[in-house]
C-alpha cells in the first residue's frame, strides 16, 4: 500500500532542481519503515529534496505493491515486523533486482553492518541520523547506480 503523504515536493522541487540537483522527472525512492513518525519524517525530507517517494510500513506491503520495479533507490529499515529488511533485499537480489538499497537501523551492531555489506547495500545508516545525511547518501547511491 502506498501511503499518501502530504507532499511538499511541489514547492521544493518545483522552484529549483532541489539540493540533489534532481531533473524535472524526479527519481523514485521506495521507503520501507514501520515506525510511523520516522517514516513520515523521512518521506518529508526526501520529497523536499525533490524525490518522488513511495513509502511502506512492512516488507510484505512493499513486495505486494511491486514497488521495487519502480524504485531507483530503496531505503529500508532492517528490523521490520515479520519479514526483515535483509530478507526483502535477498528476495530482490534473487529476483535479479539491481536497485541500490540503503539500510537504516537503530541497532548499531557489527553483525548488522556486516550483513548489510554482504548483501551489497549502498550504505547503512544508524538511527538517529540527520535528514540531510540521508539525502546525501541517496544521491550518492543514485549517482553510483
Amino acid at each position: 500500500m502506498i501511503e499518501r503523504v502530504i507532499s511538499l515536493s511541489a514547492q521544493a522541487a518545483g522552484g529549483d532542481s532541489g539540493p540533489a540537483g534532481v531533473a524535472a522527472t524526479p527519481h523514485t525512492i521506495v521507503l520501507v519503515e514501520d515506525d510511523d513518525g520516522l517514516r513520515s519524517a523521512l518521506v518529508r525530507i526526501l520529497e523536499l529534496a525533490g524525490y518522488r517517494v513511495e513509502s511502506f510500513a512492512t516488507a510484505e506491503d512493499a513486495l505486494a505493491a511491486n514497488a521495487a520495479a519502480r524504485a531507483e533507490c530503496i531505503v529500508c529499515d532492517v528490523y521490520l515486523p515479520r519479514e526483515s529488511g535483509f530478507a526483502l533485499r535477498r528476495r530482490l537480489v534473487q529476483a535479479g533486482s539491481q536497485v541500490p538499497v540503503i539500510f537504516i537501523t537503530a541497532h548499531d551492531l557489527p553483525a548488522v553492518r556486516v550483513e548489510a555489506e554482504s548483501l551489497g547495500a549502498a550504505d547503512c545508516l544508524i538511527k538517529p541520523f540527520a535528514g540531510r545525511m540521508l539525502v546525501a547518501v541517496v544521491r550518492a547511491a543514485l549517482t553510483s547506480a
Partner: protein, 637 residues
Amino acid sequence: MLLHRPKAGVAATVLAFLVAFALSPTAAFAQARDGVGEARRVVVLNGTDPYLPAFIAIDGALRVAVRAGHPGPTEFYAETLDMGRFPRTLLENDVLALLRKKYRGLKVDVVVAVETAALDFAQRHRAELWPGAAIVFHSVPPDALRARRLGPRTIGVPVRLEFGPTLELALKLKPAARRLAVVVGASEIDRRFESLARAAIERHAGRLEVEYVAGLPLADSLAAVRALPADAIVVYAAMFRDGAGVPLVPRDVLTRIAAASPVPVFGVFETYLGHGIAAGSIASYEAQGRRAGELVARLLNGEDPAAIGVQAPVAPGCIADWRQLRRWGIGEALLPENCALRFREVGAWEQYRWQILAVLAVILAQAALIAALLVQHARRRRAELALQRHRGELFHAARLATMGELTASIAHEVNQPLGAILANVDAADMLLESGNVPREALREILADVRRDDLRASEVIRRLRALLAKHETAHERLDINATTAEVLRLLAAEVRRRGVDVTTEFDPQLPAVLGDRVQLQQVVLNLIVNAMDAVADVTAGRRRVLVSTRLTPDGGVAVAVSDRGPGIAAERIEKLFESFFTTKPRGMGLGLSIARTIVEAHGGRIWAESDGRSGATLRFTLPGAEPAAEPVLVERPT
C-alpha cells in the same frame, strides 16, 4: 432482779414499761432506794474535772477492775468538786449541802477520791455524808500524802509525778541543753505541780539555767516559749488556769506550747503523749486505774482496809513519742532501755517489705520479659526490613539485568523518535533555505517534532518506572493493562527477534492488589524467557501467546505460552530454583525471583510442558476485594 407482778388487765402495758424502766440508767438507783438487791455503792469523787483525759482513762480502767474483782452488782455515783477552777472556800458548803441531800439514807461502801482536793474533802466529810464508807484515793502524789494524816479506812494508790526522772531523761535525749523552761499555770493544782517540779529540779541546779514560765497569761507563756534559744528544753507541768484567770484544759495548752516551742517539750502525764511532749517518765493511767479498782473490789468483797493499807505508787517508766523524736532529730539510740516508743509510724517499707520485694520482683521480671520481647520484636522487625530491602535490591538488580539484555531494543525505541525529530528538523531547515516558507507546512513539521519528542519521553518514562528503585507498593491493578504495558516496552525486542507475540486478555477480570513494577518484572521475565525458547525456531513460526483469564476461585491467571522445544519433566521441577539455568549466560535468578514476587503477592507460579512442543508458564494472583461499596446488612424484622 425482781419484778412486781402486774395487775390483771394492764399486764402487757405494765410489763413493757417495767422492762424499759429496768433497762434505763435510773433503774439501779430505784432498786437501791427500794432496798431491793445486793448492790454495793461506790462514789467516785473527783476534785477537779472528771472529764480530763487522764481521769477518763483512769476511771475506765478502775471500773473494769471493780467489775472484774467484785462479781456482785455495783452502783457508781460520780461527783465533782471542780476545785481546779473554783476556790474550795467558794463552793464547799454548797457542795456539801447538795451531797448531804443526795446521800441521806443511802449506804455508800467506798468513796473513790480522785486527786488531793477530793481526798481532803472525803476525809473531812465522810462521817457525815458516807458513814462507814472506805476511801480509796488515786492521783495523789506521795508528798501530798506525807503532809496529811490519813484517817482510818483510807487507803489508795499514790501517783508519782516524775519531774526529776523526766528532766534526767530530757537531758539524756538532749545532752547539749543548758537552759530549762518550766511552763505551768496559775490554778491551785497548777501551783501544786509547780512546787513538785521545783523540788525535783533543785537537785539539778547548777547544771541548768532554769526559767519558770509560771502563772502567766497563756499568750505570754507562748511568747516566752517561742523566744527560747536552741540550747533549751521545756518541761510542761500543767495549766488548768492561766494568769489571766482563763480556765483551760492542760492537754490543749500543751498542743499550743509544743507548736510554739523551738525546742523539745517534756512532761510527766500519760495523756500528754501524742499532744506534743517528746518523752517523759510517766506512770500509766491504765495501771493506776486498775490498781485503784482492784482495791475497791477487795473492799467491796469485805476485806478490811487496815489490812490492805496504802499501796506503793505505780512505777513510772520512760515513754517517748516517736514523731516528736523525729521532729527534733533525736536518735532512738539515746532512749534508755525498755523505754516504750509510741506513735511509731511504721513505713510501708518496714510493714510490707517482703510483699513489696515480691511485687517488685514480679514487676521487674515482667518488665524484663517485656523488654526482651520488645528487643526481639525490634530485631525481627529490623531483620524483616533488611530482608525486604535486600529483596527489593535483588529484584531491582534482576530488572537491571533483564533490561540489560534488552538494551538494543530500548535504544531502538528511543532512536526511532529521535531519528524522526532529526529528519523533521532538517526538513524545516531545507524549507527555510528554499525561501518560500508555507506556514502550514512548518506547523505540521513542528507538530510532528513535538509528537516524536513526547514519544521518546514516554519510552524513557516507562524505562525509569521499571528500572528505578522503589518502595514496594500495594495498589489495585488491572492485570491486563499492566501486562500490555510490558508488551509495549518489549515491542522493539519482539520485532528484532522476529517473534510473533499475540495476546488473549479476558476483559472481565477483577483487580489484583500488588506492586506494579514487581508484577511487570514477572511478566517481562516470562515473555523474554518465551522469546528465548523460540529463538531457534524457524523464522515465521516463533510464536508466543500471552493470555489472562479468571481462575475458579475468583483470582487472575496470567500465562505465557511458547512454541519452543518444551521443558523436560526433570527440569520443570528445578525451573524456579535459584541458580538453575538452561541459558549459557543466564544467572538462573529470573524465575526464582518471579516465584518470590508471585508468592509475596499471595499467588502461585508453575510451568507446564509435555517436553516436546512448547511450554506454558502460568501464575495466579488472588483477586482484590471489590472497591469500597455500601454493604447492605439484613436486619431481622
